[in-house]
């Protein structure tokens, strides 16, 4: 059992909480717009390169970026949706969707719902804190 009992421990705990609250503040500023992106590909790629212990250790966006830059794969954008706080929605969808891509488009729509719910959870957290 950890013992954050000494003065330094107490200071670390206090500062940890303060920084978490600051982070929530930063995130809520970014929550004004939502961006949902869905990529697909069929390249050889080890899942362990992306995920370790269920955590995003290497940042999925960076992986996507490096793959695209190095042109190692046939990575394709299925859809990109941006939702502004004033409900202004823009969506880019891949051209010539095949029947197989249909499932991916449905997935993208589901992720849009997820995105809104995730933002709602963050807003609820802020409301709880207030």
């Amino acid at each position: 059992m950890a013992t954050e009992i000494n003065d330094e421990g107490k200071k670390n705990l206090k500062s940890g909480f303060a920084r978490l609250i600051k982070r929530i503040g930063d995130e809520i500023e970014d929550a004004a717009s939502l961006e949902v992106t869905t990529f697909t590909g069929n390249f050889e790629y080890k899942v362990s390169d992306v995920v370790r212990n269920g955590e995003d250790k290497v940042q999925i966006e960076k992986v996507l970026k490096s793959l695209t830059v190095q042109n190692q794969s046939t990575l394709e954008l299925v859809a990109f949706t941006s939702v502004k706080i004033d409900s202004d929605v823009s969506t880019i969808v891949k051209k010539n969707l095949s029947p197989a891509d249909d499932a991916l488009l449905k997935l993208h729509k589901e992720m849009l719902v997820t995105s809104k719910e995730a933002r709602q959870s963050l807003i609820q957290l802020v409301k709880d804190l207030l």
Binding site: E4, L13, L20, I24, E27, G41, I60, Q124
Partner: protein
Amino acid sequence: MVDTEIHLLEQCEKELAGFRDEGNEIRQHLLELGYLSVNTANSVHPKDEILARQLFEKELLQSGLFKPEQLAAEHRFGQEYFLRYFLRKLTDIDDGLVLGHLPEIGETGLRSRFVHYRLDLFGMWEHPVSLAYGMVSALQIGELAEVGKCTSLEAINYLANVDRFTRHLLASYNEEQFILAFRSVNISGRLKEKLDRRFAFGRQLKDDFGEKTEFLRYLQKHVLNRDEDRIDYGFLEKESKNPLSRFLVRLIQVHQWQEGFYSGLLDSDLGEVSLQSLIDSVETYNLADGKDIKMHRVLTYLGNGYFMFNALFFLQEYMVDNQPTEEQKLWENLAGEVENADDESREKFTANLQQLRDEVSLQSTVEEKGGFLKRIYFGFKKLIRKAFRFLRKIFRWVLERIEKVWGFVKKLFASFFENLYNGLRAFVDGIKFLLGRKLVFTGTPVQFIISKISPDGDVATLVINAGPDIVMQHVRETRYQLSAMAFSLAVVGNVLKLAVQPFQLITWPLLLFKLVGSFQSASARLRNSVTN
């Protein structure tokens, strides 16, 4: 500069890693409900356990004992939690399930297991718990109903709350019927000698009841007199076989087991361990209440292996409490004591808390002995009521590691550690999300979908070689993770609110108490939203 929020996360993960969950509770309940055979209790094969878990889940969904939305809500906390929650609910005997009707003759499945489990716990079922509900089941419930002076359905439902049943029995019988005689042959000479206070017991009985009935007069003259040679053992033998006495003996053993004073077999035999547990509990109450109740107030050895027990005094004084059951208030109160303690006491308290946690995880192993299950009770309502009675002592009992009450303390803190474990899991999950470290992954190493959900709501998804099946699975998994996340953030919010209050001095043990409280209030909010 140290990233202190990451340091906080790491400390919580370290704390979480200290918990050992070997699935002992789930295994015990599967044995108790007959999904696993009692004979295999000492070496359950992992494959059998998997099958037993699957069968239980199937029967749970088919049983209609719980609302679908209730089943869905408990899934938010993960599969282990889900199984444990419902298994515990079904085996709980202080805040247990109430049946609308008894099973039909020939019915198999969870309902009939549930009825047989309760009969088994009270020594009234000698067959496998998994047996179909039949005439024997109905007869045994009839016997229980006779003891309880009620209908068969009422009798089974009374066992949902043993305190309530005990109060009902106390109100249904004459006082003198709670003066029990029992025989226990394998008691050490030391204990017999310690308890050999026949005359003092008789004097106390006279003070309490007088000699107003023939039974009491007979006891004074032929059992509790000074002359050992004049004890009527024939009378004692007859009394000890009386069905009510036998049931009350078992009931007392169950009460002692529920409170952690008794950790032996539930076998209706008040042997050395049971008798020692009665002594321990009287001594604990003396310590808690500042009283000096002597053992002869409760129990005496008579001779020839016979004992006499004043169950009326014992049950009324110790076993039936009307204290509150709000666990959250109990931990809040203790948190207050931790907060007000000096640094040295806090450090010692934290060290003892850690030791308690290790001991709690070690005590929860189920085993088979002579055809009986040696098990522990996992319900907490009764303990919480009791803890309110001991409220002002608990901090000191942990701090000073008082040996006499350590069994009770261990049992009580098992609930604390369970809530702490779940609270920590939710808190860690919530912080990971806020730090942008949370991913939803579905599939295999070569066909998979990964979504990263950022705290501000942005979602990036990568689909590699995945077909429609994995897509569906991923959607389901994301929904599940999201609802779990909402819960985790509620826990984080509760903790943060408490932690940033002005003048709040946050130390590690205090944070742990805050986590327990936060988890409990978020759970209560979730359950209320499901039931309303």
